[in-house]
């Protein structure tokens, strides 16, 4: 066969005028070059699939005459909140004891103790009012200070008379003599339909309480204002959230409704103390604050040369040239930038390179063991010109297992401030476009080199095994694909067996849980439904057992961290066991009717 006419090729080689224009276009540098020509309306961060279902129910189906689990669930949830108001007049029903009598101390240290009961006690029922009084008895005031309920499951009852059941999570906390105590429980509530629905009974699924010891327990204080006391930019700039700027700054600067701006701790000025770099959205300067000897902060953003106005999501303090000071690597949306530290905290730009995708997190490691640090960038969204779908999100397809996102990058350090894209030659171009949010290096097989875990939104994650500087995605065979909406990855040895274990934060959506367990949720195959359920489950913890990984998330009780973003292993009580902190919440605005 022969090649025939090649019009486009020929024109670009023969029509000099247009060829010249094209190359000129390539050289231009706009913050959101790819976004200029397309939709202005869509936010950067997507809803999760299950959440989409919620909207569908509420916009379309709620108007339907049919049984709408979401409407019923809302009514029951609201009714339960009313009944749990200490002033409420309670129906005269009998329920299981809500604070079991067989509590066992399952954890204790200098600071606090944890008491648990696996089962609701016996079948001895007592009036609801009495059950609630004894539940609240741990607080000297007779009632909790804070209460939060989550309805995570709703099922129509088998009996036909308009009965249904809900499962809820109960979180209460309040002052005690030594500090704040907390109660966590799960209840199974049965209801009769009505307006409002009528509560028929409560069964306890599980219960635990956390009691502080004398001395105040494990406690954290918000000291933010005091450390920023002498840095006015905190009050002027950092005390205004994204929503303030969304209505003021031109969107093209790079306003990210999700507020995906990170922080980094590192020693910028070489005095041995960690300083903090705060990334900011486009149109606002990034901030560098150095730590004064007394623990407060000094704003040196401008004089250190790092007050970039372009959208920045994440930054690392890393010694890229092994000269003993901390240089900077920045993930700035469509660009990545490297800056050299002169040793005294003054930074000079060494490279600024266009990325093929919209960059989010980054992490450094010496993957090729040549003695200098290399960088891996997550490029969640594809570049606009490659993406003809609607909106900046693109459309993840299929949305529970999408592989049409932006490409991630491995940038190899070749020394003397030379860097090259080694993604393809190292085999990291495999499964590389899965809407990656976060990455973290760890030598999970303890063979002396750094392997890489990548947390992907909308689907499977990657675990790249490092074999002499070439990578193989072993997430499937190692059992850590964690098919759900991955937002972050942190490594820590939670069981102290010497092997690092990954904890991945995902979205826990009570709405998603409720809907995916509906009997006829989607007319799809069971396998697909299972994928949806898994998607809404929440965070995942995998135990590294040496020959692979075991999903221990549910037994370890670390799934329910709400709409989770950054998670981090950290031992907060110095007992030698890694705890976990999770930052969460999608979008809180002044609007009270949370979707």
């Amino acid at each position: 066969m022969v090649f025939l006419i090649l019009i486009s090729h020929l024109l670009s080689s023969c029509d000099k005028k247009s060829a010249k224009t094209n190359s000129a276009e390539k050289e231009l540098r706009f913050p959101n070059q790819n976004e200029l020509l397309t939709k202005a309306y869509l936010p950067d961060k997507g809803p999760r699939d299950a959440a989409i279902e919620v909207i569908l129910r509420r916009t379309d189906a709620a108007a339907d005459e049919g049984w709408d689990s979401e409407v019923v669930s809302d009514a029951a949830h609201q009714r339960l909140e009313e009944l749990l108001d200490p002033e409420a007049s309670l129906p005269e029903i009998l329920v299981q004891p809500l604070r079991p009598s067989d509590l066992q101390e399952s954890y204790t240290d200098e600071l606090l103790s944890v008491w648990r009961s696996g089962k609701g006690t016996s079948s001895t029922k007592l009036p609801l009012s009495q059950a609630l009084t004894s539940l609240r008895a741990i607080y000297p005031s007779g009632t909790e200070d804070k209460l939060k309920l989550k309805t995570y499951n709703i099922t129509p009852s088998k009996s036909p008379e308009g009965m249904f059941n809900t499962k809820i999570i109960y979180f209460a906390s309040g002052k005690t003599a030594h500090g704040t105590a907390q109660q966590n429980a799960r209840w199974h509530c049965s209801w009769r339909s009505g307006n409002p629905p009528e509560l028929l009974g409560i069964k306890l699924i599980d219960y635990e309480e956390i009691l502080p010891k004398q001395g105040g327990g494990l406690n954290f204080d918000d000291v933010t204002a005091s450390v920023f006391k002498e840095a006015p930019s905190f009050q002027d700039q950092l005390m205004l959230g994204i929503d303030h700027w969304r209505s003021r700054l031109q969107g093209d600067f790079g306003i990210d409704v999700n507020g995906l701006q990170g922080i980094s701790l590192g020693d910028a000025n070489g005095d041995g103390l960690d300083d903090i770099y705060v990334c900011q959205q486009g149109g606002l300067p990034n901030k560098l604050y150095v730590r004064n000897l007394n623990g407060t902060l000094k704003d040196v953003s401008a004089e250190s040369g790092v007050d970039w106005m372009e959208l920045t999501r994440a930054v690392l303090f890393v010694d890229l040239d092994n000269d003993g000071d901390q240089d900077l690597a920045l993930a700035q949306g469509w660009y990545w930038m490297l800056m050299e530290n002169n040793g005294a905290g003054i930074f000079t730009k060494r490279t600024e390179t266009k990325a093929p995708s919209n960059l989010h997190s980054l992490a450094a490691a010496d993957y090729d063991l040549d003695g200098d640090l290399d960088l891996y960038f997550c490029g969640r969204n594809p570049a606009r010109e490659l993406n003809n779908s609607e909106g900046i999100l693109g459309q993840p397809i299929p949305y529970h297992d999408a592989n049409n996102g932006g490409a991630n990058l491995l940038i190899r350090n070749d020394g003397n401030w030379h860097f090259s894209d080694a993604t393809v030659e190292c085999g990291l171009d495999v499964n590389n476009t899965r809407y990656s949010y976060a990455c973290s290096w760890a030598d999970f097989d303890l063979d002396g080199d750094s392997d890489l875990y990548v947390a992907n939104d909308f689907g499977r994650n990657n675990l790249y095994l490092n074999r002499n500087g070439k990578f193989i995605d072993v997430a499937g065979s190692q059992g850590v694909e964690d098919m759900s909406a991955g937002m972050s990855i942190t490594w820590g040895d939670y069981n102290n067996d010497g092997r690092p274990d990954p904890y991945i934060s995902n979205m826990f959506s009570s709405a998603g849980n409720r809907i995916t367990y509906q009997r006829k949720f989607r007319s799809g195959i069971e396998q697909e439904i299972e994928a949806f359920r898994r998607h809404a489950r929440g965070n995942s913890l995998f135990a590294n057992i040496g020959s692979g990984f075991t999903d221990v998330s549910e037994n370890a009780a670390v799934t329910m961290a709400r709409w989770a973003w950054g998670a981090k292993f950290v031992d907060l009580n110095n007992d030698g066991w890694e705890d976990i902190y999770v930052a969460n919440g999608f979008i809180t605005t002044e609007d009270t009717g949370d979707l």
Partner: protein
């Protein structure tokens, strides 16, 4: 109330899953765009490791249940009190918080490594402590862990109660193992690779000025000023008087709105100052839309006044939504500041103070790069250029809002006043999509700034039409310019393409010949000439020009493939040379990855010509596989395959 999940499912099943998906995205993104809360008010979670393989949510009991929209978490011992503190970044205010751990719990020690043969930061190094309790405490130096976060490079070990360290080991990147001595409880240490000995490090002795403190939220203020970069004009609108070449403020107001009236009075009072600054004002009364308010007494406003038509309001609203991310309706008062070219420079929602207005008018005459600094609330360093004007984006917004004819009108008007090749191309394509060829060509032709003479116009139009695959009209335009451009080799080449594409092969031959005569080193022209010769049955001449093309551009796949094909399949045995064809095509296949069915089929033909039918069959089978995988027509390949199976080489016509 009927309870039938089946009905609901049936109803939903009618909508295709993919449509529901898109619908869901759209609904959700719109709601978020309007400022709705979604999975908000969620408290951060602290999971306490209870050492039995389980964790307990102890967020509330520890003061860590913050209701911010939390994002990144970074840890360090900020106050050097031996316990880990937390830095958290948020979507909303405060954008960062420091949460100080005021309890200590168990024993601890901290260690900071530095590499010598390993990277200086010791990233990837793992320290393992053995406390003699059949457990290992291990931590790795990381740069980037969690989400958008980097924690301190200090390795902080909690050790529980009364622990003794029976051994401490570093596993450096690459596998070197080093024992550490000299670690002390409740101390900070540094360790340099190869030294084996930890060195005590003392935190600063200064008293801390860190204390529990209340943050103060800034008061919210609905008055906003948005300065725009890449200015573009509003569409022509009836009801907005033309006030000539001076900056202009378009103000939306109503009598029932007190701040509006105050603003109008202020402008009336300071008329002189405003006129001196060169600003004209057009106050458009929104209230007049309401029939009941028609009887209102006319105000004595020294500038222009009128009523805001629904069209004006609609256009201003779309303009605002296109450039401001939060999708909320315009409040009253709202004002748009236009520069003397009529381009929107600023949008003010709420009352605009007179001094802001006058400062902004002064800013209009500054270069846009300076005005950019005034567009943002704080100074900083820019790495980027200015955004270009975004007329296309606004036009698209009009179309999306259901007004495609305004899109077209706006772009046409824009092009009458401003030069923008991108906008021309966009509008031209729009017109082409509507089959409005005549107008499309006029728009495209405007691309080259000088279209005074007809030949230029026809030449530009022809080239652009070629670009959009409108071959026949392209040919007609190019032919009309031939007499002027007959000595331009590139022009002749393009016309050759257009003639070939229109089926006039003989004509095309002449133009390609003319091109290679004027430009003998044009590999592309030789290649196309070769194609045209082959198509007109002049195989021998085709071979000559394919070879010339390859001489200029060795290894170029197109002429190499076509030449190899001719050498393998030409009916004239004098011309055929299977051996050479194999030599030609083999490196091409190596370079293209071996998955191109076209080059594979050429190799098969060449192999068959050398008598290697086994190889030809195998190669054709591969070609078929790849042809099918890209959905190409495989009839020719099948015909060739049956030839080879019968021990026959393939012959062209």
């Amino acid at each position: 109330m009927s309870q039938s999940p089946e009905n609901l499912s049936a109803a939903l099943a009618d909508i295709k899953a993919s449509d529901r998906y898109k619908l869901g995205w759209k609904a959700l993104t719109e709601l978020i765009g309007q400022g709705r809360s979604f999975s908000g008010n969620e408290s951060n979670c602290f999971f306490l490791n209870t050492r039995d393989g389980r964790f307990t949510d102890a967020s509330a009991a520890t003061g860590l249940s913050l209701y911010d929209d939390g994002r990144a978490v970074a840890v360090c011992d900020w106050d050097f009190d031996g316990s880990q503190d937390l830095w958290v970044s948020n979507r909303n205010a405060p954008r960062v918080r420091l949460l100080r751990n005021s309890s200590r719990g168990g024993d601890w020690l901290a260690l900071r490594l530095s590499g010598t043969s390993s990277n200086k930061d010791a990233v990837g190094a793992r320290v393992v402590l053995d406390l003699g309790d059949n457990r290992l405490r291990s931590k790795t130096v990381r740069a980037g862990d969690g989400f958008l976060a980097q924690s301190s490079k200090w390795l902080h070990f909690g050790l529980g109660n009364k622990a003794t360290i029976s051994s401490a080991t570093v596993y450096w990147p690459g596998g070197k193992v080093e024992k550490i001595s000299g670690l002390k409880m409740h101390q900070y240490h540094t360790l340099e690779q190869g030294k084996g000995q930890a060195v005590l490090w003392k935190p600063p002795a200064e008293n801390l000025a860190i204390k529990t403190s209340q943050i103060t939220f800034n008061e919210s203020n609905d008055t906003t000023r948005t300065w725009l970069i890449g200015r573009i004009p509003l569409p022509r609108l009836e009801g907005i008087p033309d006030t000539g070449n001076s900056p202009k403020l378009i103000n939306l107001w109503s009598e029932s709105c007190a701040p509006c009236v105050a603003e109008i009075s202020e402008w009336t009072k300071h008329e002189k100052k405003i006129r001196e600054a060169g600003l004209d004002i057009v106050a458009l009364n929104v209230g007049l839309l309401d029939e009941n308010q028609r009887k209102t007494t006319p105000i004595t406003f020294p500038f222009n006044s009128g009523k805001a038509s629904p069209e004006i309001l609609d256009v201003l609203d779309i303009f605002h939504r296109t450039f401001v991310e939060l999708q909320q309706p315009l409040p009253i008062p709202t004002s748009f500041l236009l520069d003397k070219e009529g381009r929107v420079a600023a949008i003010y929602k709420g009352h605009v103070p007179l001094f802001t207005l006058l400062d902004d008018v002064a800013l209009l005459s500054k270069p846009e790069i300076e005005a950019r600094d005034a567009a943002v609330p704080f100074p900083g360093r820019w790495a980027s250029d200015l955004f270009p004007p975004q007329a296309i984006r606004l036009a698209e917004s009009f179309a999306r809002a259901g007004n495609p004819s305004l899109r077209k009108r706006y772009l046409k008007d824009y092009l009458l006043r401003f030069e923008s090749e991108e906008t021309r191309l966009y509008l031209g394509r729009l017109l082409l999509d509507e089959n409005n060829l005549e107008q499309a060509v006029r728009v495209f032709a405007g691309i080259s700034a000088t279209t005074e003479n007809e030949a230029d116009y026809h030449r530009s139009a022809g080239i652009l039409l070629l670009k959009y695959n409108q071959i026949r009209p392209a040919r007609n335009h190019l032919k009309a310019a031939l007499s002027v451009y007959k000595d331009n080799p590139d022009f002749r080449f393009n016309l050759g393409i257009a003639e070939a594409g229109s089926g006039n092969l003989v004509e095309s031959l002449n133009h390609f010949r003319a091109c290679v005569r004027m430009k003998p080193t044009d590999a592309v022209a030789h290649f196309q000439l070769g194609n045209a010769l082959q198509a007109t049955g002049k195989g021998h001449d085709a071979v000559t020009h394919y070879r010339k093309s390859l001489q200029v551009r060795p290894g170029w796949m197109f002429p190499a493939n076509n030449l190899a094909w001719l050498l393998s399949t030409h009916p004239d045995s004098e011309l055929r040379n299977g051996e050479e064809a194999v030599k030609l095509i083999t490196p091409i296949i190596k370079a293209d990855g071996g998955k191109n069915h076209t080059t594979l089929s050429t190799l098969a033909a060449a192999l068959a010509e050398t008598g290697d039918f086994k190889g030809a069959i195998e190669t054709t089978t591969r070609a078929l596989h790849y042809a099918q995988s890209v959905g190409a027509n495989d009839a020719g390949l099948r015909a060739a395959l049956s030839n080879y199976r019968n021990g026959k080489a393939f012959r062209g016509k």
